[in-house]
Subunit: 347 residues, 2 copies
DNA sequence: GTCCATGCCTAAATCGTTTCATCGGAGGTC
DNA sequence: GACCTCCGATGAAACGATTTAGGCATGGAC
């Protein structure tokens, strides 16, 4: 076992070196790598031995240059700090793994510039396809990607009359479910705690809330629209303080938050300021992340099928990559309200 | 503006096409790309125009094949679903962005096989370097990586007498801090809720707990070691049920959990079973993730400098990549106990 | 008018792999 | 023994960029 690691690593071994060591031609080494069944067993073993001895590592750049394709997908997430997106990513991962592709995760962190840089880089890398929860689904850079041959699937958003596949959840419906639930529980003044209007998900959920409110015949001014800088825990806390600041007769008795981070922040602020949930304020979140159920006052939330969202998106992308008769498809999942103590009162 | 997108995308344009369109040689196009100052303004503009018209996208495979290096780093995370690691990743991201490199995130999800597959693939991609929170820091595959020329920095773990850089937090100290805090609060029976012993962090924190307990002269059997299958919220809940199952006189009055996910699960189970925190059970977590402070009974936790951990790790890697006189370094940060209501009682 | 320096561009070699047409030899058939 | 078939291995030609050594004007100095 004369292991000879390229100690000083002058340059890593190439197929040529392997071929020389094994005393075969370079094409044979390649065959061992790609079509082992075409190589006789003795030769194959000799080559494999040489590869091990030399510490050969296949150069993926050269491979994909020659073949014109890579073995990777990428998911560009909107916010890696939000467990919702990491769960979506996990769904994607499973599908990618099953297809034998590796998945790169990139985080745009809600910033267009970062998103753009990631997309440009991925395009240069010639990844097979890109899944993305975009900062702005109408960004022309996305069109440019498909024009230039990189398939793109939009995750958790849709685009009108689109030339993309997309997988989303009906956020308007989700907003309705949340607010109808609060109306059913008898609330007459409700706050919608949203993030910045620039986020489509925030707009849609707010729209659903408005629709439900209007259909119940309640006066529009009693649905208080609060918008936050970002859909984060910290902003949820800040929103709580703004609610407390309202005069008692105008203060909502319930709040629907655009996501669970906001809801958890609001929950925390409410309780630590000595009020009770749901007694003084009922709270509904959105996404049903794991921490929602684990909150000490378990959070009522609108559940999205996070894993399925990711898995289905990856499947669509794989179809687009592999199937010449692929048809673009806009999948819309249906959200579901999970009622818990934060709106139900304690037993 | 005769924009001519490669509509049917027969094949994307190469430098050769750009050269032909601009009426210059191929080397000139490359100069425009890499050393624009060497090209006269008129030629440069002509070339840039041609690139735009053809929708030219530089082929990164070819570039890195020729130059022998890529513009990317990777971080292989232990658990993308744990906010602690996404925060570490964010710190890394910032440092990578500042250095003009792109960062790929990979998730091993605690599985050696996945980790191995990611590492092999990254090595083939010839990434500049790899940051990793390994399933097992003694995995020989890590040695093999550096032997073959890919720098590796270990994050949130250390390795004895190592030929790696590493950045970690003193987990033994963290365990001591947590348990000393509980002892100071007068607890005489404490549970350590750990994950599987195979996880180094879990072992070290437990060891710290034991040390603090012994030094206080308390009987070892009153530090109840509970181990869970995985350090997750669900397992935290299960641990709560096991605690309740203990006979009252042996039941701990406080629990120190190996991470915040466990602690949140335990917190939830405790409260929903009608007991109070910290009245019936005081709880200390570990990591101080954002959701710890946001829990309705804010969680006392051992804070790790998550962003600094990531940033410093990335800096070490960048130094190793760029500085020929680089010396391996083992950075150890000091954790800090953040006391909150889950151990302090309510005002 | 000659010579040289300078600025800008060209041509060719190269990176490591895959692929394809080809070739040699072993074995079977007549 | 001549011929055909296979099987396995070979070698050269790509892939698309970067790099380097040189070439060809232009213009200034003498």
């Amino acid at each position: 076992m004369a292991i000879t690691p390229a100690a000083g690593s002058p340059r890593s071994a190439s197929v040529k070196d392997v071929a020389a060591t094994a005393g075969v031609s370079l094409g044979t080494v390649s065959n061992v790598l790609n079509r082992p069944e075409r190589v006789s067993r003795t030769t194959r073993e000799r080559v494999e031995r040489a590869m091990a001895d030399l510490g050969f590592v296949r150069n993926e750049s050269a491979r994909s240059l020659r073949t014109g394709s890579t073995q990777s997908l990428a998911y560009v997430m909107l916010d890696a700090g939000n467990p919702f997106f990491t769960d979506v990513a996990q769904g994607i991962e499973l599908a990618a793994e099953a297809a034998g592709l590796s998945l790169f995760l990139c985080n745009s962190d809600g910033r267009s510039a970062r998103e753009g840089a990631h997309l440009a880089h991925l395009q240069q890398q010639r990844v097979q396809g890109i899944l993305i929860t975009p900062v702005d689904p109408d960004d022309p850079q996305l069109d440019q990607l498909i024009e230039r041959g990189t398939p793109v699937v939009i995750v958790d958003r849709t685009r009108a009359g689109s030339s993309f596949c997309s997988v989303a959840v009906d956020d308007v419906l989700g907003g309705r479910l949340a607010v109808e639930h609060l109306i059913d529980a008898g609330h007459k003044r409700v706050a919608y705690v949203g993030g910045p209007e620039s986020i489509g998900q925030v707009r849609d959920r707010g729209e659903g809330a408005r629709q439900a409110w209007a259909e119940a015949g309640l006066p529009p001014e009693d649905l208080v629209m609060l918008s936050c800088e970002a859909p984060t825990v910290a902003c949820g806390r800040a929103a709580g303080e703004r609610l407390v600041g309202l005069p008692a007769r105008r203060r909502p008795t319930a709040a629907f938050c655009a996501n669970d981070l906001l809801a958890l922040g609001l929950l925390q602020q409410t309780i630590s300021s000595g009020r009770t949930v749901p007694g003084d304020l009922a709270i509904v979140g959105y996404d049903d992340i794991e921490f929602a159920a684990a909150a000490a006052v378990p959070l009522t939330s609108v559940r999205q099928p996070r894993h399925d969202l990711g898995r289905r998106a990856a499947e669509l992308l794989l179809d687009e990559v592999g199937n010449p008769t692929h048809q673009h498809e806009q999948v819309v999942f249906t959200p579901e309200l999970i009622a818990r103590a934060s709106t139900l009162g304690r037993p």
